[in-house]
Amino acid sequence: MTLARLDFLVGVASAGAASAASTVTLPFQNGTRPLVAYPQKRPLIVLTPRPPQLETPFAVFNESILTPNDAFYVRWHLAGIPTTVDGATHRINVHGSVKRPMSLSVDDLRTKFAPVEIVAVNQCSGNSRGLFSPRVPGGQWDNGAMGNARWTGARLIDVLSAAGLKDSVVQIRFRGLEQPVLPTTPPFVKALSIGDIDENVLIAYEMNGQPLPLLNGYPVRLVVPGWYATYWMKMLSDIEAIDTIDENFWMKTAYRIPNTPGNTVAPTDTGYPTVPINKLTVRSFITNVTSGQTLHAGPQTIQGIAFDSGKGIKSVEFSSDGGATWRKAKLGTDLGNYSFRPWEIGFTGKPGASYVLACRATTNDGVTQTTVPVWNPGGYLRNVIETYTVRAS
């Protein structure tokens, strides 16, 4: 076996593309993970089995703009996950500072409220945490804790209107069926301020035209386009209108980012103010190349995806010289501003030459990825320009 061939195989294995592999090794220390097919899922990269945290092999993002339900990543916080959920008897209680408290079934959501569709990226707050330098504790994801789906559901604002919010309401607090193992553990609760809930926020009962996989929140989950997935409450069962800023653990202590320029700090910094994590940062990836891969020499197409928090992608640029020069890529199908935006560009590799490929996206409001990585102790918001070292043979 030639060295080039060996490189190629390693590249495939580390991307998780080879379904025959029983493990994959992500590109950081302690990054070897089993590949296991959980219920309703194809083999995914197991970060932790209990509670289940499953990463999507990155090659999936090269298959289609919409991430298949059986490949969509999974992230639970607490091990008390119901393994049987009856979609017919499930209820979403709407209560608190409302004029008309309601107990809605999934059928109520389908029949009493206008159905709305939106394609939106769901990205874990900790996506890419394993790539932080210096490393930080937390769930050690590579770049696959994200997915893009077509969500169908009722608008949250329509449900809140039906319940009639009192003037005193400041935030809406959400809870699902996920339970702590111990009664002393804070239940997983998240809250959104009224001003952050627009017409795009859905209570979704379909994902890519199908019921949600149980591990993605069957029968309904909150969909908050443009915001990190921590707010996308799975198995949503409780909507509470509250008159104050929520101060539970998952809002006040966990999932906080520095309230500093660029939400970045130095590892030695202390005492800076923090805010709850909120909107996605702009990112782009090459999806048909993995770092370390040997490409064939000659003309070929490099393809990838880009996304942001909903301004939409204005342009994606590609570099084959580590960012010294850039060329504009061709943008593909537009499924809306909250979706992955595919892109592609031609590239010609010379036999025996090495390249550092890179891509950078710019949003419609002019925000561009940079070469300086964000650092914060939570390992949030990575959006540095990604690079891929390859050679042609």
Binding site: T48, A79, T84, D86, V136, V181, P183, T184, L214
Partner: protein, 101 residues
Amino acid sequence: MRGVIRIAALAGALLILGAAASTVTITLPSDGVEFKLGPGADLATANCRTCHSAAYVYTQPPLNRKQWTAEVVKMQKAYGAPIADSDISAIVDYLLTQNGR
């Protein structure tokens, strides 16, 4: 491929499909990740695995004493794990042997 299919079959998914909203039942694979033998392994198993897999330890980057102590204290104080104060240093010592720096 065969190994993957076998795991999938063991994991098992029972879907009663049909109506838009119906009962879905799954069987999750067992945890399967054990703390390795060594002084303090019993304490780690008793205190940590109540709520989560040992994979939460082994998938971290190697952490130093200060970082592992912060993790254990976070589990006790923020997540309400009933870890005895007198056990913290032994648990941290064990974690350092497993994934320390």
